[in-house]
Amino acid sequence: MEKINQILESILTINNLTKKFGYLTAVKDLSFTINKGNVYGILGPNGSGKSTTLGIVLNVVNKTEGNFHWFDGHTSTHDALKKVGAIIERPNFYPYMTAQQNLKLVCRIKGVDESKILEKLEVVGLLDRKDHKFRTYSLGMKQRLAIASALLNDPEILILDEPTNGLDPQGIHQIRQIIKDIANTGTTILLASHLLDEVEKVCTHVVVLRKGEKLYSGRVDEMISSHGFFELKSDNQEALISILENDTSFGSIKVEGALITAFLNEPMDAKTFNKLMFEKGIILSHLVKRKESLEEQFLQLTDNKEA
């Protein structure tokens, strides 16, 4: 029972949020809720309103219509933000201050004890560079300092907007590892990205946006009501195709060279299917059951809405 209460504890609630920049509607009637303990992804192509939405809830962009509230709705936004850790786009610090001085300033803003500074610098691996000025840092180090800064107050929720943007592969790997470590500690995370594999690797829930509109919000694995598909190869290809076409369990069938892809209309596991084929006298040389990757699901979702 206690666990259920914990799950339902909401951190951020957004209701019918709309943002217009002149004639352009960047966010259109958006509603979703973020609950404690989950890792959320906001997915969408560039210009879909991800950063604008985050900007609104982070008090730097003014909403046009709608409302949002943090936690139980009784704290003002700027007070709530003291319990939030966020980094938006590129890391913004005072170039003439050292890492430690910059974090000290953040501590003063958030009202956090300064003893956390060294601990968080250690987490992101910048302890040996703490007395170097921010302007001497590489982009990867700047981004890691931003994460350290966001963690200073041991936030209830960590908001990351495109955290790996512009980094080299090594930097991307470092940041992802840090995010995974933080997720493992049970911190709620909201990750905005256009990189699908990034979201797929760490998120449990996802909100999909396109042109400011919400296409989907919910669990990653329930994004499309799909039972998955089989990838098949057989020497007797024509017979196999005719069987599949006459079976109502299967929807569309795609043939690419020797590879046949058969989409399921109802649940069926690979063992049952293999047995069925064997009974019909067809021997498979290749059988894989797969679910759509997030990328395929995402494209399917955005395509459907376009049509």
Partner: protein, 274 residues
């Protein structure tokens, strides 16, 4: 309040260029001291010794020192516009807000800093003037020494008003250099408006409107002291009589402008998408 002041002081004092400018703006008034002790010998013809003209006697010394010291306010004005300009160019204003500083607190932290530095500058001028005055004048009566001390209050109000204007211009244009240019444009604009009214109506109306404009109202707080010196020297000085006193309504006008500038800065930030 202390938290907000500490925040801003950390931002300013760790920055090398603003540290130098703040240092200069506090040091420069001391040159009045040097000036006062100046003895210029013109090829043995005569010696110009400013101290001997009674310029540094109480109570006129309050007027003279505050007037000249107020001309050095530009150095801290640069600090004020750059403390806004830097926040925008480094995008740290955005990060500050995300970290949980409210927009109101952001403006207040700047305003408290302005008051803090104006207060320090006023205190320094108080000490300097007291030293000069005590050295040059033979007056030891306390009531005479502190006559005209309202010039010190006027000096403080003048600084706060002027820096608030700089803060507003900084918020308006987001770039330090443009904000300073704007200050100059405002100065010209005030005189153009004066000129137009003077030409279309008459000079009385023009002056009375001009006295309400931001820069002119700040200037009015401490009138130029030259005429006052001339009066005290001339045998029939009553002919040049003019009103050099600090009036309550002059203070009220500048305080009103200060409130307007701070409020407008806040409104500007509140309406803006960062």
């Amino acid at each position: 309040m202390l938290r907000l002041l500490q925040l801003e002081l950390q931002k300013l004092l760790l920055n090398k260029s603003s540290k130098v400018l703040i240092f200069i703006s506090f040091i420069l008034p001391f040159f009045v001291l040097i000036l006062s002790s100046l003895r210029i010998n013109f090829f043995n013809w005569f010696t110009l010794e400013l101290g001997h003209y009674g310029l540094f006697n109480f109570p006129v010394v309050w007027h003279i020192v505050t007037f000249f010291a107020a001309q050095f306010k530009f150095f801290f004005a640069i600090v004020v516009v750059s403390m806004i300009g830097n926040e925008y160019s480094n995008k740290t204003i955005k990060q500050n807000l995300i970290d949980g500083l409210s927009k109101k607190e952001f403006i207040l932290s700047k305003f408290y800093t302005i008051i803090f530095f104006s207060a320090i500058a006023t205190l320094l001028i108080f000490i300097i003037t007291l030293c000069i005055g005590l050295y040059y004048s033979s007056i030891s009566e306390v009531s005479l020494i502190f006559r005209d001390i309202e010039f010190l209050l006027a000096y403080f109000i003048k600084l706060v008003g002027f820096f608030s204007l700089c803060l507003f211009l900084g918020m308006l244009v987001k770039r330090s250099a443009f904000a300073l240019a704007f200050l100059f444009v405002l100065f010209i604009l005030e005189w153009i408006i004066f000129g137009i009214i003077n030409w279309q109506v008459n000079s009385d109306v023009a002056w009375s409107i001009h006295n309400f404009m931001p820069l002119q109202s700040m200037w009015n707080l401490i009138d130029q002291p030259f005429q006052r010196i001339a009066i005290s020297k001339a045998p029939n000085g009553q002919n040049f009589l003019y009103d050099f006193a600090v009036h309550w309504y002059e203070i009220v006008i500048v305080l009103a402008w200060t409130a307007v500038f701070i409020f407008l800065s806040y409104r500007l930030l509140k309406k803006r998408d960062l």
